[in-house]
Amino acid sequence: MLMQRSILASCGLAAAIALPLSPAAAAPFSCPSRGGDLVFGQEANVNSLDQMTSSTISTRNIAMNIYESLVTRDENNKVIAELAESVEEAPDRLSYTFRLRQGIGFHNGKPMTSADVAASFDRYKRIGLQRSTLDNVQGWEAPDAATFVIRMARVQPTFLEALSSFSVPIVIIPAEHKDDPPQQLRPVGTGPFRIAEFVPGSHAKLVRYDGYKPNTAYEERTGFGGYKAACLDSVTFRIVTEASARVAGLETGELQGVEDVPTKSVEALKKDSNVTILPLENWWIQIALPNTAQAPTSDLNFRKAVQAAIGAEDVMDAATDGNYRLNVGFQYPNQPTYTDAGKETYNINDPEKAAALLKQSGYKGEPITILTNRDYPAMYNAALVMQQQLQAAGINAQLRVVDWPTSVQMSQKVNSTEWHFFHSGWGTQPALGALATMQFLASPGANYRPRDDKGDPDVEAAWRDMNDLPTEAERNAAFARMQKLVLERAYAYPFGSLTKVQAVRANVKNFKPFRIPRFSNVWIAK
């Protein structure tokens, strides 16, 4: 029992369990005003609302207002229970027992039971995108309607952290939908909003689900969970791909909320008293990765020369038009696992030092290819500045601009000779924590593309420690070690963190910037 407690506390589940002991705080949230339709201008197209088989941000934006999971993350990214009332880890750490909250019903009117949970896990195991989450799981069962048990094949200290990931969450769906083919899940969940209309490429309309039962373990919405209530009658996500159109729509009141406001427009919007600007800091880590399978990026001195040549301010300024924060490494300062280990490698901006390192590396002016794409302007812009900085240091840097699918495919090829640096943005994974982020740098598939996909043994050792060490403190120390190694050996060039600006009309209340636009507990002031 003692064991269980400490683990749960470490996972942040204490809140859910300790609730009966917590002082009776203020009454739970209640809508100051109900009604209204909120139209939200979304940047990217949505093709499918199948949250189990889609990892795109645009899908999650909408789907996570419809679906819920057993466990999720709170405002500070701690693991919390959502559809579960409590989670119990067995002393041998080989099973997890979830007690389900009672009285929860799906949008189709059927009550949610452990059979639905088991069916959801069945579908996820079969076609879920992140089904490797369940690799160490032996099986699951539903001993009674309100209990769900996961049995592990081997101990995985980080299991609950992985299970609660919102990258491609294991959302709970009605049992009869478990055989829906990939991308075709019927959108029925347990969340505060249900789908009323979905036209891919155009809009999705959600309406209040009247049978929603809020999680009374909380008083307020927190992260993806907490006490949620639908104050709005409906929310319409409209796809508005032109940034200027989104801004104009917000100004005229045609849209009540938008995402991704260009920095240039923020200045003007700030003067508009009808608009509230909501910067969402740490949206992603702007990053470039070397291809260490081919020369000259296989050479440490060359990679360090590039590191010395980079000035993070100009790169980030171009990437974001000025809305950024300098940031060392792969986590953000507000996160518990943040470390500035390896900070001496960051933002050196010293062309002379770069030139000296270049000389040591034996570089002879071979053309260097920077691979980027124009689907994500921030990556293209960052690559453009990096090219200029490398040229200033005496490197014959060329841009190769392709589209996103091509750049991903090229960058993932083993022993590729087509590129030297690949530009990307790490969004969801850093937000999920160090573990989720560093898998980008672990083999197989390590993003610095080591020869034959065999990662640097020291880095791999640190990665194993991050996963397997029994205590959180030890795992965090392993993360700091891994980050320092990666930065010192220049396997990645994280430039800083990018701020994404959301904005709403001033009468839209309690809309807090978050990784998805959350519409529970948001109301329109009358």
Binding site: N45, N47, S48, S54, S55, T56, I57, S58, T59, I127, L129, Q130, R131, S132, S167, V168, P181, P182, Q183, Q184, V199, P200, G201, S202, H203, R238, I239, V240, T241, E242, S244, A245, R246, V247, A248, G249, E251, T252, E254, Y376, V402, D403, W404, P405, T406, S407, V408, Q409, M410, Q412, G425, W426, G427, T428, Q429, Q439, F440, P444, G445, N447
Partner: protein
């Protein structure tokens, strides 16, 4: 007549077969695959690899080709990778949007184009003629994507008269449809109206120089009767051809216009499919669209033969 139509339909088969072969080959030669597109930005390499396996993208080229034609023979156009839905259903869902927009643009084109062309011909060598032709010249010289962007800046951003984008179906809210469709329709129509005005003017002028018009004039028929009874009806023949060409232009026009105004039509569907490497969608969708265009052209030819008794198939 029926025999002629049947023969035209039959001759379209090898064309469509070639279209499908070209599409298939082209799509497989494009680098990048749908896995990366589906995975989006924040996916890990493992997730991308997972999708790739799930989609069976590792099958040999010939197997995939045979599989696609096999399905086609059974009337199955395949299933979109990205949307997870049947290609035929997806196209049929988007088609009304593009058709409604195109119809609106066509009405504007006919109104503006015919009016400007006829006026210019009647008032040949006057200021009206010059103005109409200057308008037509600008119409055919304005890039439609530039016109679309400028209209957004002026009418949506600065004046706030029209919404910046989006689409409301005609069946749902006619006024909303009108508001969301006007800028896209105008940006589609201006080029075509310019073309039509130029053709109408030159055909009218040519027709009016013909002997029978001179005869009609000599007989003292009213100017109005000459224009409508004789000149315009004869000018309809080349104009019909032009309208046929305009209809086939609309899909191309829709690609750019729909992207700028966020309209969920067939143009967006196909562009997204190409950019996301949604092979079945591109193959099936293009086959349907080209098939549709071929049908339109046959229809125009039939209409042409109907309007002009002199045109007879050999």
């Amino acid at each position: 007549m029926i025999g002629v139509v049947a023969r035209r339909l039959l001759s379209a088969v090898p064309v469509l077969l070639l279209v499908s072969l070209i599409t298939f080959g082209m799509m497989r030669l494009i680098p990048g695959d749908p896995a990366a597109a589906i995975a989006g930005l924040s996916a890990t390499p493992q997730q991308v690899q997972q999708i790739r396996q799930d989609l069976g993208l590792d099958q040999p080229f010939l197997t995939q080709l045979l599989h696609w034609y096999g399905g086609l023979l059974q009337g199955d156009l395949g299933r979109s990778i990205l949307l997870g839905r049947g290609v035929f259903a997806s196209v049929m869902e988007r088609l009304p949007v593009t058709l409604a927009l195109s119809a609106y643009a066509l009405v504007l084109t006919l109104l503006i184009g015919l009016l400007a062309g006829i006026l210019a011909a009647l008032k040949q060598n006057t200021v009206i003629d010059q103005l109409a032709m200057a308008f037509a010249m600008i119409g055919i010289s304005l890039p439609s994507f530039f016109l679309g962007l400028v209209m957004i800046i002026v009418f949506a951003v600065h004046l706030g008269w029209l919404p910046t984008g989006g689409y409301i179906p005609l069946t749902e809210d006619p006024w909303g449809w009108f508001r969301t469709s006007t800028m896209p329709a105008v940006s589609l129509a201006l080029l075509q109206a310019g073309l039509l005005a130029r053709i109408t003017r030159s055909t009218m002028l040519e027709v009016m120089r013909q002997d029978y018009i001179r005869t009609a004039r000599a007989k003292g028929l009213s100017q109005r009767s000459i224009i409508f009874r004789h000149a315009l009806s004869n000018a309809m023949i080349p104009i019909t051809t032009v309208v046929g060409i305009i209809v086939s232009l609309l899909i191309s026009g829709a690609v750019v216009t729909e992207a700028i105004f966020s309209i969920p039509g067939i143009g967006q569907l196909l562009t997204q499919a190409v950019l996301n490497r949604d092979y079945p969608m591109v193959q099936g969708g293009l086959l349907l669209v080209t098939g549709f265009l071929v049908l339109v052209n046959i229809g125009i030819d039939v209409l042409y033969a109907f309007l002009d008794p002199r045109v007879r198939y050999e």
